[in-house]
Amino acid sequence: MDLQYASMHHDDIDNSVILCRACDLAVRRRALPSGVRALCPRCHTALYDTPFCSINGMLALCVSALALFLPANLFPVLELHFLGSVRTATVIQGAMAVMDLGYWVVGIAVLVAAVIGPGLLLLSILSQVLLVKMGLNPGWQRDLYKWLLRRHGLFSQLTMLEIYVISFLVSAFQLSDFSDIYFGVGTFSFTMLFLVTLFLQREYNIEHMWSRLND
């Protein structure tokens, strides 16, 4: 058995056998109908799906997400009306408010998950798409592309837009107990940013992006 595989050429190995990242089972790669995901027969971890990853579609989604990014972060996501006075809060002001009171671990966590993470993710995907469009020439283009792909997992894990969207609903209900709460332009922009990013992440396929380096 060892001999059989030792004599195999590298690329044969790469194309015919795939290893499960969770349990290391060797699985023979088969063609899949679209929209179907191959699961590991032993531990049910997702192994691969049909690459559905259109570069132009990702570019369009990426540009719209970045266009929404600034209003989502600069306009208030919640407005509070209390005894005639109006208070507003943007995402960044929320993070700064807890940091000012000495809770910088909390502030940084909020800032990273709601502002920095999504920003890095969008800029990274935009650069990757542009690099692919430029032809991924050997040299700095390929090096930068690899550098960005290596960090993609981290960037997408830091992005928690969906949780933030739920959190302003929860805050609004909690505060409605003693004051009137209004949603602002920021709320709309932030929700749209979340939706566009969600579609972008569905379109994006990391293994497909890596495989562009093979040819």
Partner: protein, 209 residues
């Protein structure tokens, strides 16, 4: 060799790149595609994961015992722990919100810590637990873990909005930092663990019988 025989990459002398998922020969030092360090198994990951998990479990106590927010309403100061905050929500007829907050702030962290502890014990002490069920649990833990951030987002928004001196003022309290660290450490504990180790154990037991 037929497809039905379960062969691991290790037995074939192959190794999956942890970063780009390319299959490399086991003896290769670095991945041929992305240049990441190649390692057939990361045995030290169990210790690292245990260390992070135990720290998180210890921090879970102050996170639940100490108040997470301080509220001043017309001169009256109230401290709320995670649990008393949820009780308030139930009493003010906001049951759906209470369920969301309960899930994100109590259920998810506890499930995560207990789940990871069972998972790590199964590797460290070869516990007779169904490996498949453990793996399913692990995927759930990976996915829901981030939802604990909800409470921190709510606190930050509330603090920014509600600051009107003695009339109405909301501030975070010490448990907030402990809770943030619990989220961070449990996410890291799940991330560093090399889950292939659990399945190696399964193979060893199969070989015995």
């Amino acid at each position: 060799m037929t497809d039905n025989v379960q062969t691991t990459g290790k037995q074939m002398g192959l190794c999956l790149c942890p970063v780009c998922k390319k299959t490399n020969p086991e003896d290769a030092q670095t991945c041929s595609r992305c240049g990441a360090h190649n390692q057939a198994r990361d045995y030290s990951s169990v210790q690292k994961s245990w260390a992070l998990l135990i720290t998180a479990a210890i921090l879970l106590i102050p996170a639940n015992v100490y108040p997470i927010t301080t509220l001043v309403n017309q001169g009256k100061v109230t401290h709320d722990t995670i649990f008393s905050g949820i009780k308030h929500l139930v009493h003010s007829d906001m049951l759906p919100i209470a369920i969301i907050v309960f899930t994100a702030s109590i259920l998810v962290p506890w499930l995560k810590i207990i789940g990871l502890a069972i998972y790590l014990s199964a590797i460290s002490f070869s516990l007779p637990v169904s490996k498949r069920r453990l793996m399913a649990g692990f995927h759930i833990i990976e996915w829901i873990g981030r939802w604990s951030m909800l409470d921190l987002f709510v606190i930050s928004l509330t603090v920014a909005l509600v600051n009107m001196g003695q009339l109405l003022d909301a501030k975070p309290a010490p448990a907030a930092t402990a809770f943030a660290l619990v989220i961070l450490l449990t996410q890291l504990a799940a991330k560093v663990l090399d889950t292939r180790l659990l399945w190696d154990r399964l193979d060893l037991e199969d070989d015995k019988y």
